[in-house]
Amino acid sequence: MAKARGAIEVDIEKCKGCELCIGSCPFHVISLEQHVNSKGYHYAYMGNPEACTGCTNCAVVCPDGVITVFRAKSEV
C-alpha cells in the first residue's frame, strides 16, 4: 500500500522557533532553519520532506498556529 504523502507550510514570520513541532513529528521531518526571521527567531522547515505523511501532529501542537498541513490523496 502506498504511504500517504504530506507536506507542511510554515508561516515563517510568525514562527517563534519553540521546537515543539519538532518533537511532535513522528517522522523527524522538521528542523529549525539556521537563518532567523525578522523577529530574530530560527524558524521551522521541512528538513526531511520525503518523510512527511501529513499527520497534522506538528500543526496541532504549534502554539502559534503557524503550520498548515497538506496531504496528497494517494500515490502510486
Partner: protein
C-alpha cells in the same frame, strides 16, 4: 511526488482557524496560552457559534485574547471574569459566554467570583489555564505553585509551612452542584491537544444545551517564568505538574467520574 504538488488547496488537511485574526500571539515561544487560544477559536468555529459568542478576557498574559479571536469580548478586572460573564449571560441568556483565565486570576484574586459563579450554576463556560505561576507579572508564586517550586517571590522554593500547599481549585469546583462538566487537560503533545479540544467542546456544548457550567482546566507551561526552554518546560510539566494535577475528566453530565 514533489512538495509543490502536495501543497495545493484541495490537499489541505489542517489550517489555522479562520476565527483567529492575523495578529501574531503576544505569548512567549512555546507558551500553552497560544495553543489554548487556538483551541477555543477552533471549537467556536466548529460549533458555528461565532455570531453568538461573547468572551471575557482576564488580567494575565492572555489579557489581549480579544486581539486574537475575532469575536465580541469584554476585558475584565483581575479575577472578576466570572462576575462579568454572569452579568452578560443574565441579560443575554441565549448567547454563549465564556471566560478565559489564568491561575492567579481564577484561583487567587478571583477565587470568590469563581466559586460563586460555579455554585450558582451560571450557564457559562470557564477555560482555566494553570501554569502554576504569575506569568504576566514576571513569574511570582501563585496559589497553584508546586511545593518547593522556585519563583521570583519564592526564590528558595515554595515552603509549605509558610506559603501553604497548592490549591486544587478544579477539584473543589467539581463538588458544586451547579457545575455540570469539569475536566483537566494539557496541550503539550498532539494527543493531549486533541483531548483538550474535545473537553473544551464538551464545556461549550454543556452551555449550549443549558446543562450548567462547564469548566476546563488546562495544565500549561510558563517557559519564561519557569526559566526553561519550551521543550524542557513541557517535560518538567509532565514529571512534576501532572502527578499533582492529574489529567482527565472529573465530572461529566453532573456526575463525578473520578474519585477525588
Amino acid at each position: 511526488m514533489e512538495v509543490k504538488e502536495i501543497i495545493r488547496q484541495e490537499n489541505m488537511v489542517y489550517q489555522r482557524s479562520s476565527l483567529l485574526t492575523s495578529k501574531p500571539f503576544s505569548y512567549c515561544p512555546g507558551c500553552g496560552h497560544g495553543t489554548s487560544n487556538r483551541l477555543v477559536a477552533e471549537v467556536i468555529e466548529e460549533l458555528g457559534i461565532q455570531n453568538d459568542t461573547i468572551g471575557v478576557a482576564p488580567v494575565g498574559c492572555s489579557v489581549l485574547i480579544y486581539d486574537f479571536i475575532d469575536i465580541d469580548f469584554s476585558q475584565a478586572p483581575h479575577g472578576r471574569a466570572p462576575a462579568v460573564a454572569t452579568g452578560i449571560k443574565r441579560v443575554l441568556p441565549e448567547k454563549v459566554v465564556f471566560t478565559y483565565q489564568g491561575d492567579g486570576d481564577l484561583a487567587a484574586i478571583g477565587t470568590s467570583e469563581t466559586i460563586h459563579a460555579c455554585n450558582r450554576g451560571e450557564n457559562i463556560t470557564i477555560i482555566f489555564v494553570n501554569n502554576g505561576i504569575y506569568g504576566m507579572t514576571g513569574g511570582q508564586m501563585a496559589p497553584t505553585t508546586l511545593p518547593g517550586m522556585k519563583t521570583s517571590t519564592s526564590p528558595y522554593g515554595r515552603e509549605v509551612a509558610t506559603m501553604g500547599t497548592p490549591l486544587k481549585i478544579t477539584e473543589m469546583i467539581a463538588h458544586l452542584d451547579g457545575v455540570n462538566f469539569v475536566s483537566r487537560q494539557a496541550v503539550h503533545t498532539p494527543a493531549a491537544v486533541r483531548k483538550a479540544k474535545k473537553a473544551i467542546r464538551a464545556a461549550f456544548e454543556c452551555q449550549i444545551n443549558k446543562k450548567g457550567l462547564g469548566f476546563v482546566e488546562i495544565v500549561s507551561n510558563c517557559n519564561s517564568g519557569w526559566k526553561m526552554t519550551p521543550v524542557k518546560a513541557n517535560q518538567w510539566m509532565e514529571e512534576n505538574m501532572f502527578p499533582f494535577y492529574p489529567l482527565g475528566d472529573i465530572k461529566v453530565d453532573g456526575k463525578l467520574v473520578k474519585t477525588l
